[in-house]
């Protein structure tokens, strides 16, 4: 358990447009590892919803299976949530969004959930441009099954078992841009200043909004040689038992937009964070893909808003869906009645 959540709230907490305080967007206490980047993402989602004054009960949270898919329990306690099946959240979200087009949908799915078992569903969710925000807390490994490489682990990255990854990592942001996503961003769990506005923008976007959030695993991918680890200086942690869960603070970085930022990690590797300039080139798929590839070649992580097409037709538009939610329609709209049936019978004789 990361921390014990206090029930105490300051009596004069600021309220948003709806009169809610940020506490009205809280979820249950997190049971993720201490220092897990995912908790920062939960906080960012909570803050984003608060700041955007979204009514909590008009948001639905969906997830697959894995550490990150546990997250929706830890934010928005007044929203319905659905912890579905491994890799299959996209289909559940698609069905849910068709049933009621007036709710805001947030999907959370890890790199294992999205880039391996759920790859098929992820691609098709992008292709259909389902109106939702899809966040991947990306740590390059499987947490709940104790540290196997995921499909987003970079080539050569050393796993906790000591083997360099012989396969190329799947870049989810590039994949999303290539397959027609209308909103693609990448961020870092420690970068609250960037992540919160990105989530707010994603939720405001009509269509599929994807945010790939690098969120290091403090327990299984936090050692020398891992390209997705936090630690740089703690060489001594290499000898720690595999199952040991250290108590640590989350890392938070602060940098000015438009500059390249290096985040020095505890284990000595360095992650370069290069901010995408959110006001230019985000409307050009080819340029966005080039920027991502270029930064990768230079061993940097490019974060920020990478691509945005605010006018893309979402699924509801493409299937000419009624504006009134389907789940509100009753007998009058749905049952054609006996007269119509009699004429159908007539046509079958």
């Amino acid at each position: 358990m990361s921390y014990v959540q206090s029930g105490f709230r300051h009596p004069n907490l600021p309220t948003n447009r709806l009169g809610f305080t940020v506490a009205d967007y809280d979820g249950a206490i997190s049971t993720l590892c201490a220092g897990c980047g995912h908790d920062s993402i939960s906080a960012a989602i909570r803050n984003a919803c608060f700041l955007s004054s979204l009514p909590p009960h008009r948001i639905a949270k969906l997830s697959g299976i894995g550490c990150s898919s546990k997250m929706p329990t830890y934010f928005l306690g007044r929203s319905h949530g659905f912890n579905s099946v491994h890799g299959r959240m996209p289909s559940v979200a698609t069905g849910a969004s068709l049933a009621n087009c007036q709710l805001t949908y947030i999907g959370v799915s890890g790199d294992g959930d999205t880039a391996s078992i759920g790859m098929g569903q992820f691609i098709h969710l992008i292709r259909r441009n389902v109106n939702m925000t899809y966040i991947v807390p990306n740590n390059g490994c499987y947490g709940l099954t104790k540290g196997q490489d995921s499909a987003t682990a970079d080539f050569g990255s050393i796993s906790k078992y000591g083997d360099p990854n012989p396969f190329d990592g799947i870049d989810l942001a590039s994949l999303a841009i290539l397959n027609g996503a209308s909103f693609v961003a990448r961020s870092f769990s420690g970068d609250k200043e960037q992540l919160e506005p990105l989530i707010r923008a994603a939720m405001a976007h009509k269509g599929f909004a994807f945010i790939d959030v690098i969120s290091p695993c403090v327990t299984f991918n936090n050692h020398v040689g891992s390209t997705k680890s936090y630690a740089e200086t703690r060489d001594h942690l290499d000898a720690m038992p595999v199952d040991f869960v250290p108590m640590r603070e989350e890392i938070r970085t602060h940098y000015t937009e438009g500059t390249t930022q290096s985040v020095t990690l505890h284990d000595g590797s360095v992650i370069h964070l290069q901010k995408a300039v959110s006001h230019c080139e985000t409307d050009d798929r080819t340029a966005a893909l080039n920027s991502i590839q270029k930064s990768k070649e230079e061993e940097r992580f490019l974060t920020g808003l990478l691509f945005l097409d605010p006018n893309a037709r979402d699924l509801n538009t493409n299937v000419n869906l009624a504006t009134r939610p389907l789940n509100e329609l009753g007998k009058n709209e749905l049952c054609p009645g006996s007269r119509v049936l009699n004429s159908i019978n007539e046509g079958l004789r």
Partner: protein
């Protein structure tokens, strides 16, 4: 030489090459018989292929209204040299073989106990039509014309049907009618028409058939209409034979009946998913969010959907699945019919699961049960699977007309709205306040502060809070069993028929027969045959799982019970043995799993054989009733 005789009682089979347009000509023949008011049931026996392989079309005509397969062929119409040898061999002695005699038949193919009627179809079409396409298409119509003379199909009806078929393309009517006439005239001049097997309007038709204004439709279309009338708004699916036409038909009806008059927008959504996993996931998501949603699939799709069926069972999401059963995995025999998904559906998914199943036997029942499935799923908050099959789903059946009661209201089950949430003192998603195992659910977006919960598989307590406590788990799954007990009162009851009176019974044993779905019609026919032979048999048609208590009683009240079904392992038999704790010896399997639907003759023969070997061994349980 003997000639098979039969007024309104015979089997005609067409042997064609697929992709040559034969299906619509053959359908024309069957539909004409239907229009004459004579009970008919056609079956398309087709390959998983688009062009070039053998395909057959079997038409059963039965004055008593038996629509299952009888077994045997009285008249074979063969235009496929590939299958000719076997086709000739399959004709009953005294039967008729109508063939294209443009080239003479090889000597070794001839039989001296059947009647060969040659019609130079190719030659006639070569002479008459200028293009290969026309020659091919109209050859089919020419042989329908020939059959109309041989079997006494009303020519007026055929012409009427052609006019219906080509409405809007009127220029096609007269060449088709001309082709019919050409076939008719040749045969009429050449042979003694009609044959001793032939149609006669009215005549010996069973009164119950004459009384109703029947319709002619397939089960998949009926199920699709059921989904429209049942209020389904979301359909997610992946194409797979033989279920594809369910969603095709749903799309066609929805386009006509579900467009919002004000905005022109759709009060429905149909998504062709990337696979069956996703199709079922979309249905789960839509139903969780309060819409009525369904999918349709077949064997391999059911396997892929099993994971989500398990989640929906534990998470208590009402979903509707129409399973149109076929044979086997992979591309094996996807276009052949079976009832072989029973166990896979009943226990779909890992963990302890039991699913609600419905077994329709007619298109009318496909319609009614699909509507019922939506109500049941929401009443019980669980998946409901309608178990149709290829035979019922893809073939046209003569069926009583569909009926609709305008006072019908959808039963959305126990769903709390905002007012409801305000009025209850304590609400927990999995609190069994009514004691029937069914709890109150809420939909996303309902109430600003109450009723939100987290939907999960099995790790939860009654308040829907995450829990890995063994006690919580046991309480939850035991409640799900309680709910399954409740379901017994909700699902359609079995239908029983007392035995046909037999003057001098040949056995003292009390005999019973169980069957379901498309095994029903040939079973009733076999039971009649056996009654004439001195074996009275009680029947029960199973219509749902969980089983009603009357099934258990039926089995106990009989000395010997035959379980008639279409799969290798006797899956329904096993399900009954398992669920009702019946000693396996009580249920004698009567099976067919060749991929072509079971025949009345095969059923009667298997029962005869079982009676011969078993009668000696089994002592009546009820000597006083013997």
């Amino acid at each position: 030489m003997k000639k098979i005789e039969g007024i309104n009682d015979f089997v005609v089979k067409f042997a064609n090459v697929n992709g040559t347009g034969s299906a619509s000509a053959n359908h024309l023949f069957a539909k004409a018989i239907f229009r004459m008011g004579i009970p008919v049931s056609p079956r398309n026996i087709f390959p998983s292929n688009i062009q070039g392989l053998p395909t057959w079309y079997e038409v059963r005509v039965s004055s008593r209204g038996y629509l299952g397969r009888r077994g045997g062929v009285d008249l074979m119409l063969c235009v496929n040299p590939q299958s000719m040898e076997k086709d000739i061999a399959s004709v009953e002695p005294g039967g008729y073989f109508v063939y294209d005699c443009t080239k003479p038949l090889a000597k070794h193919l001839m039989r001296d106990d059947i009647h060969f009627l040659g019609v130079p179809l190719t030659e006639m079409c070569m002479r008459e039509y200028s293009t290969p396409r026309l020659r091919q298409l109209l050859k089919n119509v020419v042989y329908v014309g020939a059959l109309s003379a041989l079997l006494n199909v009303e020519f007026r009806v055929l012409k009427e049907l052609l006019s219906d078929q080509f409405k809007g393309k009127d220029h096609l009517i007269s060449p088709n009618v001309h082709a019919l006439e050409m076939g008719f005239q040749f045969v009429d001049e050449e042979f003694d028409c009609p044959l001793p097997i032939r149609l006669e309007k009215g005549g010996n038709i069973a009164p119950h058939i004459l009384e109703s204004e029947h319709i002619f439709m397939n089960g998949n279309t009926a199920a699709a209409l059921g989904a429209i009338y049942g209020g389904a708004t979301v359909a997610a699916w992946y194409p797979i034979t033989p279920s594809t036409s369910v969603v095709d038909a749903f799309a066609q009806y929805a386009q006509r009946m579900r467009i919002d008059p004000g905005t022109g927008k759709r009060n429905y959504a149909i998504i062709q998913a990337e696979d069956e996993l996703s199709a079922m996931g979309m249905v789960v998501g839509a139903c969780w969010n309060g819409a009525r949603a369904f999918t349709a699939t077949s064997g391999p799709g059911l396997s892929l959907m099993s994971e989500f069926l398990g989640l929906a069972y534990f998470a208590e999401v009402p979903v509707v699945l129409i399973d149109v059963q076929r044979s086997g995995p992979s591309t094996g025999m996807p276009t052949r019919s079976q009832q072989s998904d029973i166990l896979a559906a009943a226990y779909a998914s890992h963990g302890d699961t039991k699913q609600v199943l419905l077994f329709p036997a007619t298109p009318r029942e496909c319609f009614d049960m699909t509507i019922n499935a939506f109500d049941l799923a929401e009443q019980l908050q669980t998946p409901v699977i309608m178990m149709s099959d290829l035979d019922l789903g893809m073939n046209d059946w003569m069926s009583p007309p569909l009926e609709w009661d305008d006072t019908y209201e959808m039963d959305r089950g126990k769903v709390l709205d905002a007012e409801g949430l305000d009025s209850v003192e304590k609400w927990g998603r999995y609190l069994d306040v009514d004691g029937d195992g069914i709890c109150y659910r809420t939909l996303p977006g309902t109430h600003p502060t109450k009723g939100a919960y987290f939907t999960r598989g099995s790790s939860k307590n009654e308040m829907a809070v995450y829990s890995e406590s063994g006690d919580d788990y046991v309480r939850n799954v035991d409640r799900l069993l309680r709910k399954f007990e409740t379901a017994k009162q909700y699902v359609p009851r079995p239908k029983t028929h007392p035995p046909i009176a037999v003057k001098k019974p040949k056995t003292k044993l009390k005999l019973g027969a169980l069957f379901f779905g498309t095994s029903a019609s040939p079973s009733y026919e076999a039971v009649e045959t056996l009654a004439v032979e001195g074996y009275p048999i009680d029947t029960m048609r199973i219509r749902a799982f969980p089983f009603h208590e009357s099934l258990d009683r039926f089995i106990h009240e009989h000395d010997l019970v035959f379980m008639i079904e279409q799969n290798r392992d006797g899956q329904m038999r096993r399900l009954i043995i398992n669920e009702c704790e019946i000693p396996p010896g009580k249920l004698t399997p009567v099976l067919n799993y060749s991929g072509t639907p079971i025949t009345a003759r095969a059923i009667a023969q298997q029962i005869r054989e079982a009676l011969n070997t078993k009668s000696a061994k089994i002592v009546p349980l009820h000597p006083e009733t013997a």
